[in-house]
Symmetry: C2
DNA sequence: TATATATGCAACTATTCGGTTTCACAAATT
DNA sequence: AATTTGTGAAACCGAATAGTTGCATATATA
């Protein structure tokens, strides 16, 4: 059972759940209303998201409110960093090329 | 056959391949040297990465050099944007709290 | 207390996934 | 021309995945 954030966000339904509860915490039933699959299926997705800490359950009476653990999402951003550096460098290089052309025009 | 970037980066081997060829384009054989699985397995991963445009093949004689398509990776960054807004907002709110405390100390 | 509601868990199923082995083909080398 | 080298594709396999149905449990409500 691999269970890391990358595998978690691979599923489109789970990404959708993340988007929905980003705005406000919600119960599994309320979440399931947004999809045309069973509540149990959503429950399973929530378990996976909870296991890798992308989501946090909070019991309130017999209801459980799930909310986004925004800190965990930063890990994806962190993974992007080296690649971001590459595209920023390329952008700067393009910038240099453009300013060189500008100078030549002068 | 689902085939989007999120499913592509879900696999750790594929993420490793991306990191390796980020520095310089490489042939499948050269890439496979970094892993203890068969070249064919790497070839399969490269097919998936190519299909969703995260990687670009360039034939050179009988060799094929694979390089990173950095532009495509930006799509993940783009997906992160709404979440980034959330954590930036929270950071600002924390910042406000801190400056309020500071003022009170004065 | 009896019933309805909210939820998670287990068992099952079809499909997908990552890997291997085997093969085919084209380019380089002898 | 024969052989070696670099590569992709197909067939197969075991494990994982996403979904379902059915059940158990706990909290609210009548």
């Amino acid at each position: 059972m691999r269970r890391d954030i990358f595998q978690a966000i691979a599923d489109p339904t789970r990404r959708a759940i993340m988007t929905i509860i980003a705005l406000q915490a919600m119960t599994p039933n309320a979440i399931a209303d947004h999809f045309n699959c069973t509540r149990q299926s959503i429950s399973k997705h929530l378990r996976i998201l909870t296991e890798c800490k992308l989501v946090k359950p909070e019991q309130q009476g017999r209801e459980i409110y799930y909310s986004l653990e925004i800190e965990k999402i930063k890990e994806i951003d962190k993974w992007l960093n080296p690649f971001r550096k590459i595209w920023e460098t390329r952008f700067n290089q393009l910038d240099n090329v453009l300013s060189t052309i500008k100078k030549q025009k002068k």
